[in-house]
């Protein structure tokens, strides 16, 4: 049911771990729903020098975190903020319908970490104006009609 890309990122996740004294940390999801994603950023001069993640969740949640961190590493914060869950899905060559929300989680976790960084540094980003990290993202897609 998963693509080779998903399985690769699940088995060999990139950027797992923590960053001590990270410049921004974001956590979304909730253990009740079975998924938590935590992102650590190391930002220098507006550029994401390093990024790490930890995820409690299913195969696609882990793969989504892995591929998303890969996609923002070395990018500017503005670029990272443009990352959408759709891009995450296509980077994984697709996810099953009920698993799309795992990719949303990855997008949110990154935004949440950048928000943390912005707040610590007194910055404002247009992309984060309407962003609420505690919003209930959790709509496990149903495939029934």
């Amino acid at each position: 049911m998963y693509t080779e890309k998903v399985m690769d990122h699940f088995m060999n996740p990139r950027n797992v771990g923590e960053i001590d004294n990270a410049s921004g940390v974001g956590q979304v999801g909730n253990a009740k729903c079975g998924d938590i994603m935590k992102i650590y950023l190391d930002v220098k001069d507006g550029i994401i020098e390093d990024v790490k993640f930890k995820t409690f969740g299913c195969g696609s949640a882990i793969a989504s975190s892995s591929v998303a961190t890969e996609m923002i590493k070395g990018k500017t914060l503005e670029e990272a903020l443009k990352l959408t869950n759709r891009q995450v899905v296509s980077a994984l060559d697709g996810l099953p319908a009920p698993k799309i929300h795992c990719s949303v989680l990855a997008e949110q976790a990154i935004k949440s970490a950048i928000l943390d960084y912005a707040q610590k540094n007194g910055l404002q980003f247009d992309e984060l104006k309407d962003f609420n990290p505690d919003e209930d993202h959790h709509d496990h897609g149903h495939d029934h009609e």
Binding site: M11, K32, G57, C58, G59, A61, P96
Partner: protein
């Protein structure tokens, strides 16, 4: 992937070779309609009679108390709706538990919409209903008690005999979903005071899409599938002759050496349970420690999520199942694990491995060797485990 280790016997079982051989003639050769009066069809009719005897024997009923259905779910639906509608003038109250299979639960929920009242008994931390609760729940309006014999997820076996006695005393019909129990627990409908009982072939090395409902003689229940006069006018539809023959053979094989089978499976189960307890920290066994299906192993692995565990096992060739919401695409984790009182986040991390007739010691060794590494790897990725490590200890 070299290994293929199947540890999901509670989900379904392969058709045994003997069973398949018994079924085979009824597809292309002895294909006549059993309702036909003459030569063609006669073989099919006789074969169904034999199968009916075999299934009856497996649960200690009379032959003509067995009615074949299209599976366990149909049997559950029929029993519950059939009794409910046939007795709605006597009362509209049904008692069940909150760990039933969805075939029972969703049927009860449907009946609630149709004006019936349903009590969903809670279970204790091991998954058993409290007999006191049952007694208290009974009213003058109660027409049916439906409590499953053994649970498919955590393997807990209920005190069926006591439940049956109470139902009998109060003249309430007692139905039990014995889909998981057949072939794993001795069933005698008379000794256990059971009035209606559902079974399914594909859990006992028979084909999928065949089941049976036992209905104690004299009990009136409404037809569920209306139409032709098959199954003595109680269940219409051309009989799945090959499937029924397979079920008969499978039921016979599953019950003829029951004790031997059970002790063999139990040994493997206990080896797996003990091995996991010894090798992995922060785990806990779900379900009852002893009133438990011989092949059921169900553990919570804290800090990790069930699907990722299942997926990792699949990659090394081991098939299991989990109560995680992420596996099924549904909203909530397993209603059974929640009913046992497990918090959401812990219910998410459960893994069910179920042992069957083709499981070997080596299979168990292989799992015990690899599972700790998988759990470790996943925990290292988990933000929840991070906190434990930092705190030094939980």
């Amino acid at each position: 992937m070299n290994k293929r280790i199947y540890l999901d016997y509670a989900a379904t079982t392969p058709v045994k070779e003997e069973v398949f051989q018994a079924m085979k003639p009824y597809f292309t050769e002895a294909f006549g309609n059993p309702s036909s009066v003459y030569s063609y069809g006669r073989e099919g009719k006789q074969a169904i009679d034999t199968a009916r005897k075999q299934v009856a024997k497996a649960i200690g009923s009379k032959t003509d108390e067995i009615f074949f259905t299209g599976g366990g779910s149909e049997a559950d639906n029929w029993a519950i709706k059939g009794i409910a509608y046939a007795n709605k003038n006597k009362g509209k109250h049904i008692i069940t538990s909150n760990i039933e299979h969805h075939a029972v639960l969703h049927t009860c929920e449907y009946l609630e919409k149709e004006g019936f009242k349903v009590t969903y008994l809670e279970v204790d931390e091991y998954g058993q209903i409290r007999i006191e609760d049952l007694k208290k729940a009974i009213t003058d309006e109660t027409i049916l008690i439906t409590i499953m014999f053994a649970n498919n997820e955590v393997g807990t076996i209920q005190h069926i005999k006591e439940i049956g006695e109470i139902a009998r005393e109060h003249k309430i019909y007692f139905h039990t979903d014995a889909v998981q129990a057949l072939g794993n627990v001795k069933i005698d409908v008379n000794e256990l005071n059971i009035d209606l009982l559902s079974v399914s072939a594909h859990k006992v090395y028979g084909p999928k899409g065949v089941g049976a409902l036992y209905v104690r003689k004299g009990i009136k229940l409404f037809s569920f599938i209306h139409g032709g006069a098959q199954e003595r006018r109680r269940r219409a539809g051309t009989e799945n002759v090959a499937g029924i023959v397979g079920f008969g053979k499978a039921a016979e094989m599953a019950t003829e050496n029951l004790e031997e089978h059970v002790s063999k499976i139990k040994k493997l189960r206990d080896k797996l349970i003990d091995g996991i307890n010894e090798r992995i920290k922060y785990v806990r066994l779900n379900g009852h420690p002893t009133d438990r299906l011989p092949g059921n192993v169900n553990f919570v692995f804290e800090f990790i999520e069930g699907e990722s565990l299942l997926l990792s096992l699949d990659l090394i060739g081991v098939a299991g199942s989990s109560g995680s919401a992420c596996t099924s695409g549904s909203l909530d984790p397993s209603h059974v694990l929640m009913a046992l009182g497990l918090p959401h986040e812990i219910a998410h991390g459960s893994l069910r491995l179920t042992i069957g007739d083709f499981t070997t010691e080596e299979d168990i060794d292989y799992v015990l060797e690899n599972l700790p590494k998988i759990v470790d790897r996943l925990r290292m990725m988990s933000p929840l485990y991070e906190e434990v490590l930092k705190g030094g200890q939980k």
